[in-house]
Symmetry: C2
Subunit: 223 residues, 2 copies
Amino acid sequence: MNKTVKIGRKILSANEEYAQRNRELLKQKNLPCLNFISSPGSGKTTLLCKTINDVKDKLRIGVIEGDIETDIDAEKIRATAAPVIQINTEGACHLAAAQIARGLNALPLDKLDMVCIENVGNLVCPSAFELGETAKIALLSVPEGDDKPAKYPALFAKAHALLITKADLLELGPQIQFDMEKVIQDVRKINKNIRIFPVSATTGKGMSDWYQWLVEFATAVDR
Amino acid sequence: MNKTVKIGRKILSANEEYAQRNRELLKQKNLPCLNFISSPGSGKTTLLCKTINDVKDKLRIGVIEGDIETDIDAEKIRATAAPVIQINTEGACHLAAAQIARGLNALPLDKLDMVCIENVGNLVCPSAFELGETAKIALLSVPEGDDKPAKYPALFAKAHALLITKADLLELGPQIQFDMEKVIQDVRKINKNIRIFPVSATTGKGMSDWYQWLVEFATAVDR
């Protein structure tokens, strides 16, 4: 009798089953789905609100909001008039694929061109749980510091694109220390194909390059 | 035959056993031990380096550094001449009590007045794993935003003290939006006894109040 219980593998497999179903549904609907992951306070919600408003003539975006508690972020998304589903994980540190399955079921998928998932603010755990998304998008805000890709490599290794947010703070002088070249080099070492966009959702700086990539990604036939 | 396997409880119990041993060792040595927890990039290492240097005539501090990868932070602590043990979790999102047991074993406890643990940068998971520490210290940096205590309450509910870091950025004008009163109110709602210190480890602002609390805590007979 083999008494080994492979817990980690079992949990990942159950999640992977739901992720696969989500992938199939999204493929059937021809819907790209982006999973936004970062530390708390990197600016995921602000970036999403600005993006939804600025590309609304080209892409109809629906949002699944993941938070441990509150619907503060969903309320902000709702103000853009985009369809949004709030998921509260009630303590859990990441979204799971089964939650996304329920989220997709509640969104008007036939009236959308893209689904964006805002994961729980956490630079570590969410990158280990596949949701069935088409791509992961990493955010790193300037005030978090330029050593984060070296210290927390998992997400940066898996992401299709990295948004370096709050880039307007770079202009505020020596109180903001952030070596952009170092970050780009460190990220490229572990992910040579990643697209990197320094942006400020507040001033709009750098956002047009991000929008161009987003629209191209959404309409690509081979994504 | 009861087939229920209470996995979550079992893992926590194994951790709790080590935590209890750490608690007993620290009590026997009369050593207070602080567990510093925050998002990545909130400034835990910078705060610790500045604190170690500024209170060195009153407190000899030893450090256990928790990081997923690299020894970047331990190198910074080492420059202060404080004894430091680096623990790499190799992917894990929090420190575990067994790792702290090894860290305590490697530190010169008889030559210290306090042990500080810098946990993995993560606002969610570390607060759920007791390490045997005397108290948890939360950090929230101004650029992370004033909605974080409401969105991630677990840590703020458990911490003895909250350091609101990078407070110098509040002077940089309207690009930095942070309502200090809202944060204090939200935190007090879930933890009425928590001490709150707005600080800047870069400019030194607010640090003397934190040092006074730290020294009083370290020397209190009833902590």
